[in-house]
Chain length 220, copies 2
Amino acid sequence: MPKFKVSFAPSIRRLPSYLLLAKQAQDSGDEYISGTLIATELNLEPIQVRKDLSITGIIGKPKKGYPVSPLIAAIESYLNWDKRVDAIVVGAGNLGNALAGFPGFRQHGLHIIAGFDSNPDKAGSDIHGAPVYPMAQLYQKLNTMDVTIAILTVPSDFAQDVANELVSAGIDAIWNFTNVKLKVPANVVVQNEDLSSGYAMLSMKRRIRKAIIEGEIPSN
Amino acid sequence: MPKFKVSFAPSIRRLPSYLLLAKQAQDSGDEYISGTLIATELNLEPIQVRKDLSITGIIGKPKKGYPVSPLIAAIESYLNWDKRVDAIVVGAGNLGNALAGFPGFRQHGLHIIAGFDSNPDKAGSDIHGAPVYPMAQLYQKLNTMDVTIAILTVPSDFAQDVANELVSAGIDAIWNFTNVKLKVPANVVVQNEDLSSGYAMLSMKRRIRKAIIEGEIPSN
């Protein structure tokens, strides 16, 4: 059975897009944002937007839409993004570096405060301002930090061993950017981020377009 | 209405995981792989695995499972991953570099053959063996390449302008790693890869675990 199974997963995955639009509306000085506008911007049906947002508890006003500030607060509170959460990146290569510098994360309360790498030569360097330590110092450094999340970007061959080390060192949430299905104790939360899944979707869309162009399936 | 709407999207997203397991079985010399084993490995229900795989046309044998080589062929053919596809990375920063070096892509037929960057100083460098050209040479270089996909990793502020340039230069499939909802002509396929969506899922799993620990929701 899936552990910590998330209901309404597709809706949860869309919440960050709603949050981004709400913040853009706030920056523009708008008091309300309509569900129809959100739907148009995101290529969704208005009913879907209403259903998705209802899980956060926010209620729109007829003809006006959603009040912008409460909408932002509702999404951030629902996702626990209104509190600061500290994370480490394990594997300080290009991907680890890119994630450490991703501008959206800090806005969601996620602070990457250190990197770890098996290559001792990387110790003393930094990833977007966060110091990089050798893996050998994982236990010692984690003792001094209030870290709850490890972002795993090591090569796949090392993923399980490193995950074991992280769990031993007290990490109980792993954002897994490798394609390895990690074996972890029941209390450890894992979110797999498989780039091949996105590529499968892109490939299918290209296939569907080809079928439409060739008249194999209708275009509506 | 969503363009090129992909039916069974969650199933499509899982196909790469099935493919990986099938390839591992092939490497181990196995002739068959059972749906139950796949389900256990991926923390899914066996019925879900059967449903997902049925869309590729593969049929399992009672008691034996899926024949490994035909299973691999069925998934790769369904996703069009049995043919080589060339892509460029636009934005040759850390993320572009990481994607260019992602070992899984080449196995799926995706070859990143060049990078483009607005910083002319990056011209002459390479990302995992692919040459990096200045953006000013986009049209000229694309003329000499049979590129079908652009992987967009530029800063969000430039995403729409760069997407416009790509479309003008003949690109009709964009794998979008920015958080901008791109406006593109109807014939252009876009797959959005929003890292915030994955972080929303991780955040929800942590929230659900907390609720279980605090006895607010049952653990099964």
